[in-house]
Symmetry: C2
Subunit: 278 residues, 2 copies
């Protein structure tokens, strides 16, 4: 539940904050979101979130919100909750009934802040889910509001007593978990699956790709389901939780302290104080 929230239609704050029932974000999932970790009243990875949000808006042809509006929304959120998870939802707004986007769409921006989750827990247990990710090239990589696959995946994981579940796409490429990107150590090297066929281009994943240089290197490479049998270590990363280490993937017991993991943690912590462990 949000501790604080606010809504804008175009550049105009809606007060008291309310959503129109005809908002296309609700009606069709016609929008995007970003979930960010605030620390000490700042959002260190905002430039990356902003870039993904605006790229998504361009892909969906939703008018870009101004930087002034985005910054006002974020300022208000972190003032209300300096240590929190801040969420921005950008929708195409409301308009005439029907799927076709109105020519004169005025986007809705919703900012909210909720308590930050507890610090990273101990090792987690994961397994490959039965649910597969469908392939939709028009939407791949975007953090859009059509997330029923993740909901069903998270439900399957909970039903099976897993902390999270690995999701393969329809062609059998392990792509992500229900809520994180993956870095897998196989044959003594780290890889992260591409997100060009399914999945979301995660922010923490981007930070690691830019700043983590483990011995043996780090490659973007497909992770076929069969390769899970050779998995040595697996870390799940997202922008809210940082790094979670998997202790088990199905029956396979994984290395909790694989080579390079400390450097990965340091790479995140160097750019975001919420992920410092001192």
């Amino acid at each position: 539940m949000a501790e604080w929230w606010a809504v804008w239609r175009g550049d105009t704050a809606i007060e008291p904050a309310r959503l129109d029932p005809a908002d296309r974000g609700l009606a069709y999932g016609d929008g995007l979101f970003e979930t960010m970790r605030a620390s000490g009243g700042v959002l260190p990875w905002w430039p990356r979130h902003r870039a993904r949000l605006l790229a998504g808006a361009d892909r969906l042809a939703i008018p870009r919100p101004s930087d002034a509006l985005l910054e006002a929304a974020l300022d208000a959120a972190v003032r209300a909750c300096p240590e929190s998870v801040v969420k921005l939802v950008l929708t195409r707004g409301f308009g005439a009934r029907g799927y076709a986007p109105p020519d004169d769409a005025v986007p809705t921006l919703i900012a909210s802040a909720a308590p930050a989750p507890l610090a990273a827990t101990g090792p987690i247990t994961v397994d490959l889910l039965d649910l597969r990710l469908g392939l939709q090239p028009a939407l791949v990589g975007l953090k859009h509001l059509n997330r029923l696959e993740q909901v069903l995946g998270a439900r399957e994981a909970a039903r099976r007593g897993l902390d999270d579940g690995l999701m393969a796409d329809a062609d059998g490429h392990v792509t992500c978990s229900t809520r994180a990107n993956l870095f897998a150590r196989i044959d003594g090297r780290w890889i992260t699956p591409p997100v060009d066929r399914a999945g979301v281009a995660g922010i923490a994943r981007g930070v690691l790709l830019d700043h983590w240089t483990p011995g043996g290197g780090l490659r973007v490479a497909p992770l076929p389901i069969a390769a899970l049998a050779r998995l040595e270590a697996l870390v799940l990363v997202n922008a809210v939780r940082g790094i979670l280490v998997a202790g088990r993937c199905g029956d396979r017991v994984l290395d909790l302290d694989p080579p390079g993991l400390d450097a990965a943690r340091a790479a995140l912590a160097a750019s975001h104080p919420a992920f410092r462990e001192d």
Copy 2:
């Protein structure tokens, strides 16, 4: 824009009507909807809509709303707008942040009514869209809130000057338009594509399958893209507009008065007064 709307959390009316920004319908498209045509203050196809809504709730494990609640919501909607399009949205409600459905989810029901569209227009122009429908067996057939493919499809159709666009799935089976099911006449016989790989199990489609018996028969059969070159006639059907006849599909000029069309119109009109043309 809705003329009238109301919101319930569980069985409790929320007054004044408002949506929580953490509602999973907005956050993840975690819900379902039904769009119905009211005529003379009644909703003749409600039993079919109800069956689809409740089957969808079961598939997504959203608690079923009671019949008493559903009927109270519909009564209020048609009292407010006797000739209208009535929409029900059922979401999993709100809960803790994250994709996993809360164990104690209390669903949100939103009812709204908007002016009915004009009566069926003249022949429409359609073509096959470039956008393909992804394949997701877990969601196929449901009228769920993840509708970005339809939004992008409708946008492509508008950009190309089409009245609507035909959508094939990733394997090249023409399945539906952005807002209707299809009945195609090919080689002198009518077929409608199955909706077991992509698409929505439409209500008007169900009425025709149950009550339309054109000469030469009506079969549920795949419609490969290549078969569009042999198309003789094409009708698009949904529960709001009834039957729309395509005059053109791409370069192909279609029969506006194919054998059986009058019987299809009569089959819809026999069960729903909004589709009587006298």
